[in-house]
């Protein structure tokens, strides 16, 4: 009995899909690997040894409100985009810009819907933070900043739709194959120039911190990496730091709220942590992960919008945005788990570099108190929104490192 050509083709397609899925899983596992020992087990510590019961209770109440607010905001965003997917095509009449230009307009208006849907939740979050002295930003300033920040998103989606819709003009069915790497490439360009777009940066004035930075960068194998301090005390936010840029533009940015309010030993831990992001190529890993997500998402967008003429038609853009939002929502736990893993590795590398678990413990105690973060966040909260390990988990890692390296 011989198989028909159609069955053979189906088998070939199934084989191709299986190979693609296997390749995807293989690539994901490669990205998933970190230098944190696989046999590392974190000791269970009692939060009351580090925080008072009153602090824990208040942090719990504080964090619960923010998490519920964030969850509701996410749902509101999906509802808004769902409505926009239905009503959005009507906005084509507001454009005289041709196919791609109209697509760009519809993309930006989709974000406008999101902007409105997020406004009350953002204000509620600010109100809560102000109530708990975590933020001192004014409401009007916040709304203006929020409005202007949307400008960057409008520009990004315009560029993304320009690329995608231009590709649909070239390959109506197979555009998604080229779109995913093209969009990642655009993100890479943004990441490359981002350090130059962050305002209020200056060199490190504290000679001890500057010396620490030089030494730590050398230890982590990235000597000469630039470190700057950003003036953020006027913005009303808490202490923070970030590793940003790619290749020659990469740098570590410390917020002045961190440099001014934390002892040098703890700033040293933060520096080591941020250097670890750069030395362990976490940004590149993130882009790889983004590419892995972008490919199937683009495929699904292509398949689902096919009934509306595919993304070649600007009227399909609202539906495409909705699909992307839903898929990003569904994969959110995976995304946060991935970033949590990178953050854990950065902590581990920082411990190996500074060899100062006490400073790390002190740092997270202090950060926990200032940000009123829940030491042990609720499981669902951490599952959906936890892009960093919980405070207690990080303290437990310091403890675990100490247990493995007695004498420190």
């Amino acid at each position: 009995m011989s198989a028909s050509p159609a069955a053979g083709r189906r088998a070939l397609v199934a084989l191709g899909i299986a190979a693609a899925v296997a390749l995807w899983i293989f690539a994901f596992l490669q990205l998933w690997q970190t230098s944190v020992p696989s046999d590392l087990s974190l000791p269970t510590l009692d939060p009351t040894h580090y925080f008072s019961q009153d602090q824990i209770d208040r942090a719990s109440s504080y964090q619960t409100f923010l998490s519920v607010d964030a969850l509701l905001a996410l749902i509101a965003q999906l509802v808004a985009l769902g409505i926009y997917a239905i009503k959005g095509p009507g906005f084509t009449r507001e454009s005289a810009a041709g196919r791609i230009g109209t697509g760009m307009l519809l993309g930006m208006l989709g974000l406008a819907f999101v902007w409105f849907s997020q406004l009350p939740f953002g204000l509620a979050e600010l109100w809560w933070e102000r109530k708990h002295d975590v933020s001192s930003q004014g409401y009007v300033t916040w709304v203006i900043d929020y409005f202007l920040a949307a400008g960057g998103e409008f520009l990004f989606i315009s560029l993304a739709l320009l690329i995608v819709m231009a590709l649909t003009g070239l390959w109506k069915r197979w555009w998604w194959v080229a779109a995913a790497p093209a969009l990642v490439a655009v993100t890479l360009v943004f990441a490359f120039v981002q350090p130059y777009l962050i305002p209020g940066q200056h060199d490190v004035h504290n000679p001890a911190i500057a010396a620490d930075a030089r030494e730590l960068a050398k230890q982590e194998g990235i000597p000469g990496t630039k470190v700057t301090v950003q003036n953020t005390h006027n913005l009303g936010g808490g202490p923070n730091a970030e590793a940003t840029g790619l290749g020659p533009t990469k740098r570590v940015i410390l917020w002045d709220t961190l440099v001014q309010r934390f002892p040098n030993s703890q700033v040293r831990v933060v520096l080591a942590h941020e250097f670890a992001h750069l030395s362990r190529d976490h940004l590149w890993k993130s882009f790889g992960f983004m590419a892995l997500l972008a490919l199937p998402i683009a495929l699904l967008v292509a398949l689902i919008t096919r009934r509306r003429g595919g993304l070649y038609e600007p009227a399909s853009v609202p539906l495409a945005i909705f699909i992307v939002a839903v898929l990003l929502f569904l994969t959110l736990p995976l995304q946060t788990a991935f970033t949590r893993r990178l953050e854990s590795e950065a902590d581990w590398v920082a411990l190996n570099t500074t060899r100062d678990p006490a400073a790390m413990t002190g740092l997270f105690e202090r950060l926990g108190r200032l940000s009123k973060a829940q030491p042990n966040p609720a499981g669902w909260d951490q599952f959906i929104f936890g892009d960093h390990p919980g405070i207690m988990q990080r303290i437990e890692m310091a403890k675990a490192w100490k247990q493995r390296n007695p004498g420190h």
Partner: protein
């Protein structure tokens, strides 16, 4: 000369008859009838700031009386819907217009002190007394705010009329440039005169509203005024207007952010245009005629710029395309094909454009006001007032002509008067370059 007599007609011509002297329905709003012949005496223009001093003193005193009457009328109209001393207030408005017209070189003869009707080449027509709406009267000082902002941009607000201190609005810029032009050629350029008349016309409406002479809100439309019997000169760069007044509230709210992709593209395209203009300058200087390809390229850029700014400032509703294609947008720029250009004008183009650039800065202020008011009105009413829209079209047209002059699309000087009629939306009477 006391200024009591009507302006003398040019020799050999019959006396001009003000259009509103004819029988017909009364004007809804205050307006100015222009019989000015553009001739100017260099001597009186040179000393204009000194000659006007007696009038400024009288005007200041007259203003005090007008304010007192306005306060009385505010209470009176609130209770009776009627006003008192309408004739006196009308006389004041006429006199103020005469004086400001004289000061700003919009007219030549020394005005009389009575503010008599029909006595001056800029003859204000004040609407007759009529019952006033109590709500509009009660909230007059609040309602006047948008008009006051526009009047301030034009330079015809309180400071310019009452105290002798002058606010430097568009009318001052126009007068400053006109002074040099008159010294050189002995005539007031038509465009500058018309622009000055527009400012005065808005000013008299603004004051009539503020002083409770009428409850008709000032109309900013530059196309409804009569700027004299002669038609405005033709120009190789014309604009066609958009008939659509509806505005999408969502796109209005986010208009600035929606403009950003265009802003980026404008900046990138602008870099290329910088080089093509330099190349075109050399071509035009040596060949005496611009190159077709560069003319098309620069013309498309100018058309695109006009489309984008008409979108940003809410003159139009639709999101524009990115290529500046002719006929692709409701507010469209019609650019005539390249023609021979005067080499002297080409060689000194940047210097020659300087006065027009000064006027553009004032006209740009108008466009900004149009955008800001249009944003609020569009957001609340979902439409653009026709007056504001037409004012925006005028500002865009003038800016396009100035930029077209700089981009060597034509050697015809920009016409600053608002009287240049726009082409109807469907028009394509001016051929596009091939």
């Amino acid at each position: 000369m006391t200024g009591e007599e009507p302006a003398a007609p040019p020799p050999g011509e019959p006396p001009a008859t003000p259009p509103t002297a004819e029988a017909g329905p009364p004007a809804e709003r205050a307006t100015i009838v222009v019989t000015d012949d553009l001739e100017r005496s260099r001597v009186t223009v040179f000393f204009r700031l000194i000659l006007v001093i007696p009038h400024l003193i009288v005007l200041a005193l007259f203003s005090i009386l007008a304010i007192v009457l306005a306060i009385i009328n505010w209470f009176w109209a609130l209770f009776t819907r009627d006003t008192v001393a309408h004739d006196m207030q009308s006389r004041y408005l006429r006199y103020a217009t005469h004086v400001l017209g004289y000061l700003n070189l919009a007219a030549n003869p020394f005005p009389g002190f009575e503010g008599a009707p029909g006595s001056y080449p800029l003859d204000p027509q004040i609407p007759p007394q009529e019952p006033q709406n109590r709500w509009k009267t009660g909230f007059r000082l609040v309602l006047i705010v948008p008009a006051a902002i526009l009047a301030s941009t034009l330079g015809v607000t309180a400071s310019s009329s009452y105290s002798g201190y002058y606010s430097f609005g568009l009318i001052t810029t126009v007068a400053f440039l006109a002074w040099f032009a008159i010294m050189a050629i002995g005539r007031m350029p038509r465009g500058l005169r018309d622009l000055s008349v527009y400012c005065l016309n808005y000013g008299i409406q603004y004051w009539a509203y503020l002083l409770i002479v009428t409850d008709r809100y000032p109309d900013s439309d530059p196309l409804t005024k009569s700027y004299g019997p002669d038609p405005a000169p033709d120009h190789p760069i014309r604009i066609s207007e958009d008939a659509e007044l509806r505005r999408s509230r969502l796109t209005v709210f986010f208009r600035f952010l929606l403009f950003l992709p265009h802003y980026v593209w404008l900046a990138l395209w602008g870099i290329a245009v910088l080089f093509t203009v330099i190349a075109q300058w050399f071509v035009t200087l040596f060949a005496g005629r611009p190159a077709d390809a560069l003319h098309r390229f620069n013309g498309a850029y100018l058309r695109y710029t006009t489309q984008v700014y008409s979108y940003l400032f809410l003159v139009t509703n639709e999101f524009p395309g990115f290529v500046g294609a002719p006929g692709s947008y409701p507010v469209d720029l019609h650019i005539a094909p390249p023609e021979r250009q005067n080499r002297w004008k080409t060689g000194f183009r940047l210097i020659l454009a300087f006065p027009a650039l000064i006027v553009t800065s004032g006209v740009g202020g108008l466009l900004l006001v149009v955008g800001i008011f249009g944003w609020f009105v569009g957001l609340f009413l979902g439409r653009m007032p026709v007056g504001l829209r037409n004012l925006g079209v005028f500002a865009l047209r003038y800016s396009a002509q100035v930029n077209g002059y700089l981009l060597l699309l034509t050697d015809r000087y920009p016409f600053s008067g608002p009287s240049l009629e726009q082409l109807p939306p469907e028009s394509s009477s001016l051929p596009e370059p091939a």
